[in-house]
Amino acid sequence: MEMFNTKLFFSCFPRLLARLPITLVIVAVAFACGFLLALLIAAARLYRVPVLSWVAVAYTSFVRGIPILVLLFIVYVGLPLPLLLARAGLDINHWDTLVFVLIAYTMSEAAFQSEIIRSAIIAVDPRQVEAARSVGLTSWQAFRRIVAPQAVQIALPSLGNVLVSLLKDTSLAYSLGVIDVIGIITSIRIRTNRSLEAYTAAAILFLTLSFLMELLFQHLNRRMGAGKGAQGRQCWTGLMLRGRRAI
């Protein structure tokens, strides 16, 4: 049996690219919805909202502590349970698998991004808020004009890492049966009885995409002046500890 069929390898690209939108939808929805949830989780923890902040701590610890593969399956088989208990009247049996995948990746993003947002806000010197309040800014103004811009600078590099990790993590969505870039390889394998070429093509596709995303964030970081100055550098190392690594 031949080792590597170059012709088949090149013919895989159009078929994989046709499924790329699904991968990108997962990335975009999970990153954006995850970010909104992460803001709420970070706020609950920063303002020490009773009960909610405890739930937030447990949630982030659990979701960050388990493999995304396990989370995918927990959402897939476990989500119907609370919905049935609540008698929500949702007919979950006809939901597309993609919905479960989107929920699982959003949950994961919310946990990881909330840690980044929280530590970025903590990293801004509290004396800056005092100074802002002393010159007559309201607490909302102080947050919006003083704290938030600095926190964004601090958080941006880590958010970039998280986005690239998310992209790579979506390579596991196929395990629930979503036919994305990886999922389509099954049909290529059935037709041609080979899959090494298709997997290699997918690897090149993911490599190119993550490289492009990294370039995009490098550009953004430069524009926003992220990582500048002694404080920025220190925070950056701190955030790397809280960041994540894809699997």
Partner: protein, 233 residues
């Protein structure tokens, strides 16, 4: 309608089943960690010292390996061994087929590849956190490069490196779950085997999650301990 129940007894039983597979996970995460630390340190030193050719080559390799999802690295390694092992054994005159290979070894290989790339970056940032003047001072008093790294640079880089290494170990523990894709039975696979009899999948997955969570938590505590230990330098 309400066909769902949560069997707490079975869930607890599954946690015990899951802990039986902890050694597999430790093999799949500690072996790549050690390989990654050894090879990653060499890569990091080559890049910090800006050795010609080698540093550029490593830089490209690190970007490539980090850009490819682990599931693809593992699947490609798996397919390569499957396709290539038979012919290779034949040319070496061995009577062995690809069915004789342990896929755990393939998984360790693939995970080590990824660990080397990530750890080399962690170690490089730790080495670079040491001020440039320290390198110059060490050389100026006549230390050889090996002495410089062993006596001056690495002791100072260690406090920065330890939390990063701990973080990588947690990622490796979680990443080992992907080995199930190439038929290695680890925590999740183990709990699932029991669940297929009774279709109690939720209990099985949650039990696996709890075991992973506990492993990650233990790693975090151990890292914190190691960190306070090296901080005294």
């Amino acid at each position: 309608m309400n066909g769902f129940t949560f069997d707490t007894g079975f869930f607890l039983h599954e946690i015990i089943v899951g802990t039986r597979f902890v050694p597999v996970v430790l093999l799949l995460s500690l072996a790549p960690l050690l390989a990654g630390l050894g090879l990653g340190l060499l890569v990091a030193i080559a890049r910090v010292l800006k050795l010609p050719v080698l540093s550029q080559l490593f830089a490209v390799l690190v970007v490539v390996i980090r850009g490819i999802p682990v599931v693809l690295i593992l699947t490609i390694s798996y397919l390569f061994t499957n396709l290539g092992f038979g012919p290779l054994a034949a040319t070496l005159g061995l009577n062995a087929g690809s069915s004789g290979i342990s896929y755990t070894v393939v998984a360790v290989f693939g995970l080590s590849l990824s660990a080397t790339a990530y750890l080399s970056e962690a170690l490089r940032s730790a080495l670079e956190s040491v001020q440039a003047g320290q390198f110059e001072a060490a050389r100026s008093v006549g230390l050889s490069p090996a002495q410089m790294f062993r006596r001056v640079i690495i002791p100072q880089a260690l406090p920065v490196a330890i939390p990063l290494i701990g973080n990588n170990l947690i990622s490796l523990i979680k990443g080992s779950s992907v080995a199930s894709v190439i038929t290695v039975v680890e925590i999740m696979g183990g709990t699932l085997l029991e669940a297929t009899r009774s279709y109690q999948f939720l209990e099985a997955y949650l039990a696996a999650a709890v075991v992973y969570w506990a492993l990650g938590f233990a790693t975090e505590r151990l890292t914190a301990l190691a960190e306070s230990h090296v901080a005294k330098y």
